[in-house]
């Protein structure tokens, strides 16, 4: 089954068609008949590529398809003749890229699958056409003419190399086959091709269709030297490559012009001995395939890459210069400057002590401090202390303390910081004195680290203030610090015996009276929390409050002025969650009045003056600020 090659588009068509199925060109009046399929397969088989010389000898013989020559129309012959003339006159006119592509198609590797039938036919047809035209292989440009970049993109295989040999074999083979099938006489070969053949190491002799392929080495060794000398002068690069002598055989060791170097001892020790005297068995690669393309061409036992995937070309060059605009460059410089400034240690600016701001601050301090200092120095007690009935919670607190039976166990939590001792100590001291007068058993705990020390100090001061007693008050147990925050407090409320088993004096106070009857916090007669923090007060209310409310145990609080607004709702709620409240200095003094302690040592007068002066400073400052803003606004409007 033969296909008819379209003379116009060159594509194969079935023989029963009159017109090309691709371009509708007439097929019967001209065109080429593709070689038989068996022949094309044979031609593409690697076995035929080893006998190029035989193909050359058989090329002049008339083929079976020579009758088609008569059927070629005159216009096609004329076109072909013109094409041949142009090819002979200007062999370098076709672009190297096109010719290289055509040549690559002719040099299709033997591994090309025969299934690509149409491509093979196209290549054969094109090879024959190019061979007849004498441009099957373009004349290699001289080194002076060839651009360096193109030389790098399409490196020509060196004569003598296996790649070159195979390429030449395929080219000659292709041309031989086409000459057999072509109805026309083979065109005269151009000079460059003759020279190339003469310089080639391939001997174009032998039978084309011999069965067993012969190795390439014998063909290389059979280069007749006189044949190469008879040729016309070769280009420099061909002459250089053609003069390359075949590699010396293993039986004839070549003389090494370079004396072997003497390795230093340390380098000799580092040299791997495996490379010198390999101990591992050498793998037999004689049966492996030969790589026909790519940089590993001619090697055995390696993975062959697809020819189309390996196209040696010059790697693209990328400019390392950034294209930045002036604005971007300015930003970069700004960022560099900022980073540089960040790395520099900058000394702190020495601020002058005497400034308008500091002077104003000093004036305010003097105005505020002087009246208070004077009140304290003079011990003034001009201002009347607050009445218990005017301070919410004080009367209730007093009543709850008075309800306590003698010797009742009272839990006191010292949960305030030492900085608030000036505000709370008056109230706490009065409460302690009242409890000591009732001989209450004080159980001291603290959820702040400074609490235990404050408790000991206040107990000591309060006991020294007791009238009619000698010695320190000892009816108390200091259980110390309760760790764990909210969870510790919940544990203390549910099981104080487990949380604080021993006092700070290593006494198991829970075994003796009255704490032996205490199982939970609700068993105390009263719980008094002394705190300056509203959150601490809230935690006590939330964790211990429900238990205390169940048993009717009063929860009393002595708090700072800053915590009072947040604790007051718990006191004023109905039912009350806090049964008594003493807040701030005013609450402490009011409670002191209830227990008969009227000493204030000028503190209340200083406090009253301080509050008044503060109020005046804030008022004057606010008015001055408003006036200055109004003046500034009016100036702006004008």
């Amino acid at each position: 089954m033969t296909d008819v090659i379209c003379p116009l588009c060159g594509k194969p068509n079935p023989p029963d068609l009159d017109e090309c199925m691709y371009c509708q060109a007439p097929l019967k009046t001209g065109g080429f008949i593709a070689p038989p399929e068996s022949e094309s397969e044979l031609s593409s088989s690697p076995s035929t590529s080893n006998k190029p010389g035989e193909a050359e000898q058989k090329a002049p013989e008339p083929s079976a398809s020579s009758d088609l020559e008569q059927s070629i129309p005159d216009w096609l012959k004329q076109t072909e003749a013109d094409f041949l003339d142009l090819s002979e006159v200007k062999p370098e006119e076709p672009s190297p890229a096109e010719l290289s592509g055509q040549f690559d198609s002719l040099l299709s590797p033997p591994s090309t699958p025969p299934s690509s039938k149409e491509n093979a036919i196209d290549d054969d047809w094109l090879a024959s056409l190019l061979d007849e035209a004498g441009v099957g292989k373009p004349e290699p440009p001289s080194l002076q003419e060839q651009a360096p970049e193109e030389a790098l993109k399409e490196p020509e295989p060196e004569p003598g190399s296996e790649m070159y040999e195979e390429g030449a074999n395929l080219a000659v083979e292709g041309s031989t086959e086409e000459e057999q099938l072509s109805p026309t006489q083979p065109a005269e070969k151009p000079d460059w091709l003759k020279n190339l053949e003469a310089s080639s190491t391939i001997k174009l002799e032998g039978d084309l269709f011999s069965g067993e392929p012969e190795p390439i080495e014998p063909a290389v060794n059979e280069i007749p030297e006189e044949k190469a000398q008879d040729q016309t002068p070769l280009p420099d690069w061909i002459a250089k490559t053609g003069s390359i002598e075949p590699p010396p055989s293993p039986q004839e060791p070549a003389e090494s012009p370079i004396a072997p170097a003497e390795l230093p001892n340390w380098l000799e020790a580092l040299r791997p001995t495996e490379t010198v005297s390999p101990s591992a068995p050498v793998e037999d690669l004689s049966g492996a395939d030969i790589v026909t393309a790519g940089p590993l061409v001619g090697l055995r036992g390696v993975i062959s890459a697809h020819p189309s995937a390996i196209r040696p070309q010059k790697p693209p060059t990328y400019s390392i210069k950034l294209r930045v605009t002036d604005e971007q460059q300015a930003r970069v410089e700004m960022m560099k400057e900022l980073l540089a400034n960040e790395e520099k240690p900058t000394p702190l600016a020495s601020r002058p002590i005497i400034t308008s701001r500091n002077i104003f601050r000093l004036i305010v301090a003097v105005v505020l401090l002087l009246p208070m200092v004077w009140m304290i120095i003079s011990g003034s007690q001009q201002a009347s202390t607050p009445q218990p009935g005017n301070i919410p919670g004080v009367v209730d607190f007093t009543q709850q303390i008075q309800k306590l039976p003698s010797g009742a166990p009272v839990l006191m939590a010292f949960d305030y910081e030492a900085g608030f001792s000036g505000e709370l100590n008056i109230a706490v001291t009065n409460v302690l004195i009242q409890l000591m007068n009732k001989s209450a058993y004080l159980t001291l705990v603290a959820t702040t680290p400074t609490g235990p020390a404050l408790a000991e100090s206040l107990i000591k001061n309060a006991s020294s203030s007791l009238v009619g007693t000698s010695g320190a008050y000892s009816n108390y147990a200091d259980l110390g610090y309760v760790p764990g925050g909210t969870m510790g407090l919940l544990g203390l409320a549910k099981s104080p015996r487990s949380i604080l088993p021993y006092s700070l004096e290593s006494d198991n106070v829970w075994e003796g009276a009255p704490l032996n009857a205490i199982a939970s916090i609700k068993d105390f007669s009263a719980v008094i929390v002394l705190t300056n923090d509203p959150d601490t007060a809230r935690i006590w209310i939330e964790q211990a409050g429900p238990l205390l409310q169940e048993a009717g145990t009063p929860l009393l609080m002595v708090t700072s002025s800053q915590a009072e607004p947040l604790i007051r709702p718990y006191f004023e709620a109905k039912p009350a969650q806090v049964q008594g409240l003493i807040a701030g200095l005013a609450g402490g003094l009011a409670y002191g009045r209830t227990v008969g302690n009227l000493q204030q040592n000028g503190i209340w007068d200083a406090f009253s003056v301080g509050v008044t002066v503060s109020f005046l400073i804030i008022l004057i400052g606010s008015i001055a600020g408003v006036v200055s803003k109004m003046l500034a606004a009016s100036k702006k409007e004008n």
């Binding site: 301090a365 208070m372 200092v373 608030f420 505000e423 487990s498 800053q562 607004p565």
Partner: protein
């Protein structure tokens, strides 16, 4: 010797307190080295005191002393119970120390997760039980006629007080109502004029509340200043 030290402790403490008070009050003229030195001393002393307190009060008296007491008195009956109660805390506490090492920090995460979960549950349960429900109930009973005083004068004050608290609670809650449904696509979202007026009233209550809180803080600071002035005068008067 110990008695002499105790007798000298108060005077020495008074002198140290006097100097530190002066150093802190020097902030009146601005930030200076004396003030910073006093701050550093306070931070260091507080940290050291807290560490000593934990070792003395928690590790010694809550973990070791009970065991020593049991063996010294021969009452080892409660040893197993005590071990079951204390050993988990001790193990978790030692386990928590892995957080001190960056390499072993992740091993302490379960303990931290346990503490966080239990702490959150404790706080939430306490807040619901101790604050939320009781305060909501108290607000509902503000104008309960059964709790009204019998006297007419007290009745007016009771009614005004309850009304103010009720209005303040409602308007403050309305002020924090930010979820408004959009009527039209792309139209600006805005509350109704009535709601805007109510939220303005609530905003006024919030301002008054914050002012009261600030006043409490200022009064507490002023009281502490007066206490320090009196301490300085007493110290000078003594010496």
């Amino acid at each position: 010797m110990l008695e002499q030290i105790n007798q000298l402790a108060d005077p020495i403490g008074a002198i140290i307190g006097f100097l530190l008070t002066i150093m802190v009050l020097s902030y009146i003229i601005g930030d200076n080295a004396l003030f910073r030195l006093a701050i550093h001393i306070f931070i260091g002393v507080a940290s050291g005191y807290a560490a000593a307190l934990i070792l003395y009060n928690v590790v010694l008296f809550q973990v070791l002393v009970p065991v020593i007491q049991m063996f010294s008195t021969g009452k080892t009956d409660g040893l197993v119970t005590y071990a079951f109660r204390v050993l988990p805390a001790v193990i978790l506490g030692i386990w928590m120390l892995t957080k001190a090492s960056p390499r072993l920090a992740r091993w302490g995460t379960p303990v931290l997760a346990f503490l966080t979960g239990v702490g959150a549950a404790t706080v939430v349960a306490g807040a619901v039980r101790g604050t939320l429900f009781p305060q909501v109930g108290a607000s509902m009973n503000l104008l309960n006629i059964h709790t009204a005083p019998a006297e007419l004068n007290n009745l007016v004050g009771w009614f005004i007080n309850g009304l103010v608290i009720l209005v303040g609670t409602i308007t403050t809650l309305i002020y924090f109502q930010f979820g408004i449904k959009s009527q039209e696509e792309g139209a600006p979202v805005q509350r109704s004029v009535f709601m805007e007026y109510i939220s303005t009233v609530g905003q006024g209550f919030i301002v008054i509340t914050l002012g009261v809180l600030f006043t409490g803080v200022y009064i507490a600071a002023l009281t502490a200043l007066i206490d320090r002035i009196r301490f300085l005068w007493d110290t000078l008067h003594i010496f």
